[in-house]
């Protein structure tokens, strides 16, 4: 089964982070929430693998075993 990558994988981590924050600039809270929701859906579709997405949902929940 494919494994979710949880080790550093972004070549330009600082750039991505800055873009992400910038994308929210000037947005109301409700607009930001909607943006985040759309972003998750766009990324999920790109990943396109339910097994990976399940692992991602678990990883994001921060529940330590």
């Amino acid at each position: 089964m494919a494994e979710l990558i949880l080790s550093p994988n972004l070549t330009q981590a600082d750039d991505f982070y800055a873009d992400l924050v910038a994308a929210h600039e000037g947005l109301e809270k409700s607009e930001s929430d909607a943006f985040n929701a759309r972003l998750v859906l766009v990324l999920a579709n790109h990943i396109g693998d339910n097994a990976i997405l399940k692992q991602a949902l678990e990883a994001a929940a921060l529940k330590q075993e």
Binding site: D33, A34, A37, R38, V40, V42
Partner: protein
């Protein structure tokens, strides 16, 4: 005006059973002449099983009920001899539009699959559906088939015994007692049979109300399914517009939970709502208005000894996805051949337990789909609304989000994966025809495959050898020999062979695959027949 739902179709008539000195015993009694009870009775009568239908009413179902019938039930109705009038009368559609807020977000076109005789869906009022079934009952009676419907015969008490069931029936001329070897309870979601037997019916009620209106209008809306999320004329809620025969349109308007139902139903409140939706200058007449609350629930078991529940009495779903009547007809399709074998002593009674397993599997699938649709249409939390709206907003711009838009997943037949009647898959073939699946259709020149598979066990060979007939414990299995050359469109090959060069399928009387291999092997297929009839 004499609407068809106002005319008694099976008026009360006294039966000799009412004055018999001792209770008369019938082979099978079906309680309820709704779509499911009628389908069950026709199926049994066609197989020569004596069947009596009791209904507390004498008319077809009135008001706003099922309108959308899917391909698989139509194929079953073909087997029951009444698919054609339904398709002739029904409205064909394959286009739809989805609106969100004030705008159209996308439209779709479900390209008709040319490999099937029947369309993906038709829209037809439930009262026509029932009327065509009653017409078929009359036709069978004229041919001498052992089938009878008794109107205004209300079952008021039930007694279960190891070898029969006793029913107390109320009529306009008093009550009488009759008996049956088997009873099929098709008495609807409120099933008095279920209540009288003290059986549970648990599940989830959706805290929401829907105004369902059927309106007659002369308007040039196309034959499409239009669904609105959060439209300006019904803020925060949903709406649906769908065409039916005779210029009747079905409109669903979600109303929310805290409403005064009686008030909302009054024409002076309904008409302004509809005008806001359809436009001020559209002329329409209300045929029927009701307010429904929907639920998803099922009985824990459908078979209770000699009483077997089918249709809404056994399971209920919200109508998004059109799964109620559609799945009920699949219940009877599953049940009747099994009951016939048991009645004839050709299969053990335990075969009927596979009805429970297979149709509970089907009901759970329907409940899951219908619950998901309801949750998409009515998000249950702030975040689920944000996600839902995100899907809709994305769907306007990108194809990828459209499959996530859920305004009802239209009914497709359930695959009986894991059924005890299946034999292990021994063909490296397409997954859509694996054991447990219902056979997809395929064109054969001027004809189609499914009508050739109807009503008995069949050994379907495609470019493979097999005997013309085998007999297994009194069950005759006839061969249908085909070649990929019989279908120049190659649908048969695509659906039944895939990469294989030949195949042998054992197909059940309900057109589900029981077993398949690349070649005929006497022993394997004998076992498969025994397995498919509950003997292994």
């Amino acid at each position: 005006m004499n609407k068809i739902f106002e005319v008694p179709l099976y008026a009360y008539e006294a039966s000799p059973d009412q004055s018999a000195p001792a209770p008369v015993r019938h082979k099978v009694i079906v309680v309820g002449a709704g779509p499911v009870g009628l389908a069950a009775a026709i199926d049994l009568a066609q197989q020569g099983v004596e069947v009596l239908v009791l209904d507390d009413n004498d008319k077809v179902s009135f008001g706003s009920r099922a309108i959308c019938f899917a391909k698989r039930p139509l194929e079953i109705l073909d087997r029951l001899g009444c698919g054609q009038p339904m398709v002739d009368k029904g409205v064909l559609w394959n286009k739809g539009k989805v609106f969100f807020d004030e705008r159209q977000v996308y439209e779709f076109d479900l390209q008709p699959d040319s490999g099937d005789q029947r369309p993906a869906f038709i829209n037809l009022q439930q009262y026509y559906f029932e009327q065509f079934l009653v017409d078929r009952v009359r036709e069978l009676q004229a041919q001498g088939a052992p089938i009878e419907i008794r109107g205004r015969n209300k079952v008021e008490a039930v007694g279960t015994h190891p070898d029969h069931v006793k029913l107390e029936v109320e009529t306009p001329e008093g009550s009488y007692t009759i008996e049956a070897d088997w009873v099929i309870a098709c008495d609807g979601a409120g099933s008095p049979m279920r209540a009288m037997m003290g059986k549970d019916f648990v599940g989830r009620v959706f805290e929401d109300n829907f105004l369902i209106a059927d309106v007659i209008m002369e308007a040039d809306f196309p034959s499409e399914r239009w669904f609105w999320f959060d439209p300006p004329f019904n803020k925060g809620q949903s709406a649906l517009l769908h065409k039916q025969p005779d210029g009747v349109w079905r409109i669903d308007l979600q109303l929310g939970w805290d409403i005064d139902k009686e008030r909302e139903k009054r024409p002076e409140n309904v008409i302004p709502r509809l005008k806001a939706m359809l436009g001020e200058d559209v002329n329409f007449e209300l045929e029927w208005v009701s307010i429904y609350t929907f639920q998803c629930r099922r009985m824990e078991q459908f078979r209770h000894g000699r009483v077997i529940f089918a249709g809404d009495s056994a399971h209920q779903v919200s109508p998004f996805g059109a799964r109620g009547a559609n799945s009920g007809v699949q219940d009877t399709d599953n049940l009747c051949w099994k009951l016939k074998l048991v009645i004839d002593g050709k299969a053990p009674e335990s075969l009927l337990d596979s009805y429970d397993q297979e149709r509970i599997h089907g009901a759970d699938e329907n409940i899951l789909n219908s619950t998901r649709s309801t949750d998409f249409i009515t998000p249950k939390s702030q975040m689920s609304r944000i996600l839902r709206d995100a899907v809709l907003d994305l769907s306007e711009h990108y194809d990828f989000a459209r499959p996530m838009v859920n305004s009802g997943r239209l009914s497709v037949p359930c695959v009986y994966d894991g059924s005890p009647l299946n034999s292990a898959d021994a063909l490296n073939g397409p997954s859509q025809t694996r054991p447990g699946a219902s056979c997809p259709d395929a064109p054969l020149g001027d004809d189609f495959l499914l009508p050739k598979l109807a009503g008995r066990f069949t050994l379907l060979t495609i470019d493979a050898d097999a005997p013309d007939e085998i007999e297994v414990d009194g069950i005759t299995v006839k061969r249908l020999a085909l070649s990929v050359k019989d279908d120049p469109t190659l649908t048969l090959k695509r659906r039944y062979l895939g990469d294989a060069t030949g195949a042998v399928y054992l197909i059940r009387p309900d057109q589900h695959v029981a077993a398949r291999r690349d070649t005929y092997e006497e022993n394997a297929f004998r076992h498969a027949v025994r397995r498919a009839t509950g003997k292994e």
